[in-house]
Symmetry: C2
C-alpha cells in the first residue's frame, strides 16, 4: 500500500509517519520509484505499536525506539523485560543522609524476605527508594508501610501478567506482550487505582460521587 493508505489504516497522519521514518522507528517501505514506496502489514502493525507506546503509554520517541529495538532483537523474554524496564524508567533522583539510608534499608527488609532479588542500582529499585526517602523527609512514616501492602498486590498482578503473556502464540507474541504489558499495563493499573480511589473514598466518607465533581 502507499503511504496515504498506511495513514488511513492506522489513523497516523502522513507527516507523523514521515517523522517516524526519519527517526528510524519505522523501516522504509519498498521503493517503487524515486518518490514512491510500498508499505505492507508489518508497517501497519509497527505503527500501531508506536502509537500505543507513544500516545497512550506516554513514552518519548527516543524511548519508543529503545523499546522497539528490544522487540526486534531476538532475545529471551527475561532479557527483553530487563531492557524494556531500563528504557522506560524515568531517571530517579539519588540522595544521601538518614532518610535515604532508611529508605534503602526498608526496601531490602521488605522485599528480600519475599525472595525478590533486589539490586539497589536497578532502575525500579531506585524509584522505590526515592519515593520512600520523600516520605521519610516529609515525616510521613505513617505511609511507609504501604510498601508491604503494595508488594503483595504487585506480586499478584505480576503473576497474572506473566501467566497471560507467556501464553502468547510464539516467541514474537510473548516479547510483544512483555512490552505491551509493561507499558500499557502500567497505564491501565494506574487508571484503575484512581477509579478505585474515587469509589472507596466515596464509600468511606459517605459521599455520593454523582452529586460531586465527577458530573460537573
Amino acid at each position: 500500500m502507499r503511504m496515504a493508505e498506511l495513514s488511513r489504516r492506522t489513523g497516523v497522519p502522513v507527516p507523523t509517519i514521515k517523522y517516524y521514518l526519519r527517526e528510524g522507528l519505522l523501516l522504509p517501505g519498498e521503493r517503487t520509484s524515486p518518490n514512491q514506496a510500498f508499505y505492507d502489514d508489518s508497517h501497519v502493525r509497527r505503527l500501531k505499536m508506536i502509537r500505543a507506546l507513544a500516545e497512550v503509554g506516554g513514552l518519548p520517541i527516543a524511548k519508543v525506539r529503545d523499546v522497539l529495538d528490544a522487540v526486534d532483537s531476538p532475545e529471551s523474554p527475561f532479557d527483553v523485560l530487563g531492557k524494556v524496564q531500563h528504557s522506560i524508567e524515568p531517571p530517579s533522583i539519588d540522595g544521601e543522609g538518614e532518610h535515604w539510608d532508611k529508605a534503602r534499608e526498608h526496601v531490602l527488609q521488605v522485599l528480600e524476605p519475599r525472595g525478590w532479588k533486589i539490586d539497589l542500582a536497578d532502575p525500579p529499585a531506585r524509584t522505590l527508594v526515592a519515593a520512600l526517602a520523600m516520605l521519610y523527609e516529609l515525616d510521613r512514616e505513617d505511609l511507609v508501610g504501604l510498601v508491604e501492602r503494595y508488594a503483595d498486590a504487585a506480586e499478584h498482578v505480576a503473576e497474572v501478567d506473566v501467566a497471560k503473556v507467556t501464553r502468547g502464540r510464539g516467541l514474537e507474541d510473548v516479547i510483544e506482550g512483555v512490552v505491551i504489558g509493561t507499558v500499557l499495563g502500567e497505564k491501565m493499573f494506574g487508571a484503575l487505582r484512581r477509579l478505585a480511589h474515587q469509589y472507596v473514598t466515596a464509600k468511606v466518607l459517605g459521599v455520593d460521587p454523582n452529586a460531586s465533581w465527577q458530573r460537573e
Copy 2:
C-alpha cells in the same frame, strides 16, 4: 532563616528556590530588607512537597502548582482527590470506531457491576479506555481480561490507601496524604510491579536473575 539556610535544610539549590518563588509555588518569605527575606518551617515543608511531587513524582511544575492549590484550599478530601486526579492525569487520546466502542463497553461492563461509578469523560476512565482500545487495535484481545484482574488488585490497594490516609492527624494531614498517596503511591506501585515482574518472570522461566542483566 535566610534563603541559604532554607536551601541547606531542604537540599534544593538557591536558584531553584528562586524559580519556585517566581512561579508562585512557594510563598514569599517575610521581607526584612529590600534584598533579604526570612523563611520559616512552612517554607521548608512546602519545598519538600514540591521536591517530592516534581523530582520523584515527575509532575511538571504547572501541575505541581495545581496540586498544591488543591492542598491549600480547604475542601473535603473527596473534592481534593478529584482535583488532584484531574491535575495529574496526562491528556489521553480519544478515538472513534469499532475498537474504541469495544473498549468503552468493556470498561463499563467490568467496573459498573463492582459498584464503581464510571463517567467515561473522567480522566482516569479515558486513560483506561485508550489503553484498551490499543489492545484491540493490536489484536491482543488475550490481554483485555487484565482489566478484571487489575480491578480486584486496584480496589484492594485503594482500600489500603484510603485506610492509611484517613487515619491522618487532622484534615490538613489527610489532604496532604491524598496528594502524596496519589502521586508517590503510583510511583511506588509501578516500581514494585516491575520488580515483581523480574521475580515472577525469573521464577516461571527458571532464570537466575543474578546471572543476567541485573548484575551487568
